[in-house]
Amino acid sequence: MSLAKRLPAKPTPLYPLMRFLGIAFLYIIGFLILLVATFAVFGVAPNKALFALQQGALGGGPISPAYAISETLVRATPLLLTGLSIVVAWQTGMFSIGGDGQLLMGALTATVLAQLQHVVNPNLLIFLMLVCGTLVGALWGAIAGWLRVKRNVQEVISTIMLNYIALYLVGAAVVGPLQESSHSNPESNLLPDKLLFAHILPPSWSGGITTRLHSGVLLAFLAVPIVWLYLYRTLQGFQLRIVGQNPEAARAAGISVNQTRVRAMAISGALCGLAGVIQLLGTSERLSANFSPGWGYTAIPVALVGGLHPIGTLLSALFFGALEAGSVNAEQTLQVPASLIAIVQAAAVLAIIGVNAWRQRYPTELKD
């Protein structure tokens, strides 16, 4: 208040970088400790398991690097888009859990449009699927936003309920109008090749094996700079963050809090809807009752680990993707049960939450 009050010290230019590296180091140490501990507890030699993980994610041994990295990227793609969706919603203070439902609605929309494959030019149809899937995802998110601002229904509840609606809509569709021609499995027909995303890596790069790396992956990575630009370089993004940090102050500054919340939920839903279409056209190739293994839920730790920042979420989605690709390899080569891999993933999240809690107790930020 007075001159006597000591001003906070001015940070040196290198300080943010050093801080970031220090924290990253802490995360890695914490994660490795938990990883080794988990493997040890379940009787798997940690060094072998780590090696199998690394081979699956980055290549080495019998696996070509191009193939392994492709797998990592393909598996990171849905997590990246749904993670970005969480970033947008949570930065606005909307604790959306609705990623999975929005993603399913996007995939469902695209599958419905795919029925027009004999009438519409395939390239135009792919475009339509992307656009409409995104829009329906946006609508699914906006419903939760609208319920919040008009009826004060907490989005945590409404998005979960909307997830169920989407899940059972898909379930009904794949045993009903969209079921495959033999009518024996709860899934739709395989989409024709002309509607699928191209595989972009020549097989010669990966020792003759076709990688699953498809053009949709590029689309997902393109979303990172767009979301970043939106949040940090546009008026809407700025106002969205004010609403997230202090809705009262936003209101006092003449920002329409309700409008901003609905808009953020729509954008959040759009990203998930897009993820649904990309998964359908890139890897799944058909809609089925268990289309999503819970990407929309894994998105939350992905976004949290990424510090609710688009760039951080990119890194964290790559990390989760690598872990997934690695764990598939570990499962095949070491017969490590899949559930153990899930435990390791959860352990990774715990490690990060632990470090975050530690940082809150001993903050490095300047305080009043």
Binding site: M1, S2, A4, K5, L7, P8, A9, K10, P11, L229, R233, T234, L235, Q236, F238, Q239, R241, I242, Q245, N246, E248, A249, A250, R251, A252, A253, G254, I255, E365, L366, K367, D368
Partner: protein, 525 residues
């Protein structure tokens, strides 16, 4: 209510005073907050068996003094003696051990719990006891309430009860600790008519049973009706302590408000623009405003503000200042009435451009986790010149932020620090800079210099006067009458849901004090 009164003289005895001559003495209490002196050598004494009113305006130091007695704040110097033994009240727990209890203005109850559970929470039963019985733990407090003639339903949920009953729970809680010294912080502020009568009856009962009761208030009629003695504080100084039969409301009002302020050099600027233009810039017609809980805050008020005028609104906090401010910047929809801007539609944000300095900077003014720069730019980003399509012109905005930091002397090592890293005064400067820099035509400032040092205060006042000179219409809502006297062209006092015009130039301390104390409309129910 009536049955409650019938049992008022019930035979269950309240804890008897330990000695008829016991007393609490606070001597030469000094408390500083930074450069501000909240209490400057204040003496205060409380006898067993009396109701001692502590009277003063907002910021006079009443609450600080009692927070010291109840252990919530530590004095910088001064001594406290209970029954002539010097004590060190280091915590509320210690105060409780010494028999001091405070009934807060804002209740400390868990809304979702039942009455019994709330009373048990505070009871002197070790929490780790395995056989913890809510019923037993709550019994002493319920007995105390019954002794006062209150039948509290132990199983009612607190959130379902009216405020008056909630206060009784608070009082029962305080009494259950066998407190000998009871402090009531503005207890009537939340009550209505009959509830106030009932509270007064209980306070008298407590006094007659030998307790020492402190009654913090700024309402003169209540002092006259209830107190045995009164102490008046003004700006951290004790003005006087007197038995109630030696004072009258007029005298108390003078003590509370002080003598007329010195003529300020600033008032020259006021003469320049007189007489005011004939068309008001802003006009409010028959405005009725409700509070957050639907309670009536302002009833049917009308006023107008002219271009190049500072319209001052004074009054004790909690008389509808926040609600009025929110209404006239378009954040709160009035229940009825009309707002006009140059006799046309009042569309806040576009027509006119608004500069709003809200009352509570941490709640309404700032996003503390965002940077100083971002906080400065809440309003500026709306201007077309700072945008390129949907994108922000970052260089221009950064330059603007740096300029504002310099011009408004915001002390921060970097524009990129979170606003939470700044001191309160510098945080306030962010809010002021944001409200004033974009040539707002309609400025509403609520206590804009609260927490600022002298230089910063002067700076903000100069900024407001500059805005006035360029023709802005300004509403200055302040609890500080000297601030209003120095700046405002016209001043009204907000009390009892109404606006009362006053003349601060020919300042009549008695009239103002009576208005502040809500005495003038005592007759109205």
């Amino acid at each position: 209510m009536n049955s409650a009164r019938d049992t008022a003289g019930s035979t269950t005895p309240l804890a008897a005073p330990s000695s008829t001559t016991s007393s609490v003495q606070m001597q030469q209490i000094v408390k500083r907050y930074g450069a501000t002196i909240a209490l400057n050598g204040v003496d205060f004494d409380l006898q067993a068996g009396e109701i001692h009113a502590l009277l003063g305006e907002n910021g006079a130091g009443k609450s600080t003094l009692m927070h010291i007695l109840s252990g919530m704040t530590q004095p910088d110097s001064g001594t406290i003696r209970i029954n002539n033994a010097t004590v060190n009240i280091a915590s509320p727990r210690e105060a409780r051990r010494l028999g001091i209890a405070m009934v807060h203005q804002h209740f400390t109850l868990v809304p979702a719990f039942t009455v019994q559970e709330n009373l048990a929470l505070d009871a002197d039963v070790p929490l780790h006891a395995l056989r913890y019985r809510t019923t037993e733990a709550a019994k002493p407090a319920l007995d105390q309430a019954a002794a006062l003639g209150w039948q509290l339903d132990p199983y009612a949920r607190v959130e379902d009860l009216p405020v008056g009953i909630q206060q009784r729970i608070e009082i029962a809680k305080a009494l259950a600790t066998n407190a000998q010294w009871l402090i009531f912080d503005e207890p009537t502020a939340v009550l209505i008519g009959e509830e106030i009568e009932e509270l007064f009856r209980v306070l008298r009962t407590l006094r007659d049973s030998g307790k020492g009761v402190v009654f913090i208030t700024h309402k003169l009629p209540e002092v006259m009706a209830l107190a045995d003695r009164v102490t008046v504080l003004r700006r951290g100084q004790k003005i006087a302590t007197a038995p109630i039969h030696e004072v009258n409301p007029t005298l108390l009002a003078q003590w509370m408000v002080g003598e007329a302020p010195k003529t300020q050099p600033l008032s020259e600027s006021r003469q320049v623009l007189r007489p005011l233009p004939t068309t008001p810039a802003f006009r409010a017609e028959n405005l009725t405003v409700l509070g957050d809980k639907g309670e009536s805050i302002l009833q049917n008020i009308s006023f107008e503000v002219y271009p190049g005028e500072i319209f001052g609104i004074g009054g004790v906090d909690g008389n509808g200042q926040t609600e009025l401010a929110e209404t006239i910047v378009g954040l709160r929809t009035p229940k009825s009435g009309r707002l006009l801007w140059y006799e046309g539609e009042f569309r806040p944000g576009q027509h006119p451009r608004i500069g709003y300095i809200p009352q509570d900077r941490r709640r309404h003014g700032l996003a503390l986790t965002m940077t100083v720069e971002e906080n400065l730019l809440f309003e500026a980003v709306k201007e077309a010149k700072y945008r390129f399509g949907p994108f922000l012109r970052r260089a221009a905005l950064h330059e603007l932020a740096e300029t504002l930091i310099r011009e408004f002397d915001i002390r921060t090592p970097s524009a990129k620090l979170p606003a939470s890293a700044l001191s309160g005064g510098n945080q306030q400067k962010i809010v002021v800079a944001r409200a004033l820099h974009h040539r707002a035509e309609w400025i509403v400032a609520v206590n804009p210099v609260r927490g600022l040092d002298i230089n910063a205060t002067q700076f903000v006042h100069t900024q407001l006067l500059n805005a006035k000179q360029r023709g802005a219409s300004i509403v200055l809502i302040s609890t500080d009458l000297d601030e209003l006297a120095a700046l405002a062209d016209r001043t009204v006092i907000l009390s009892n849901h109404q606006m009362h015009p006053i003349d601060l130039i020919q300042r009549d301390a008695t009239q103002i004090g009576l208005l502040l104390g809500g005495a003038s409309t005592k007759e109205t129910p």
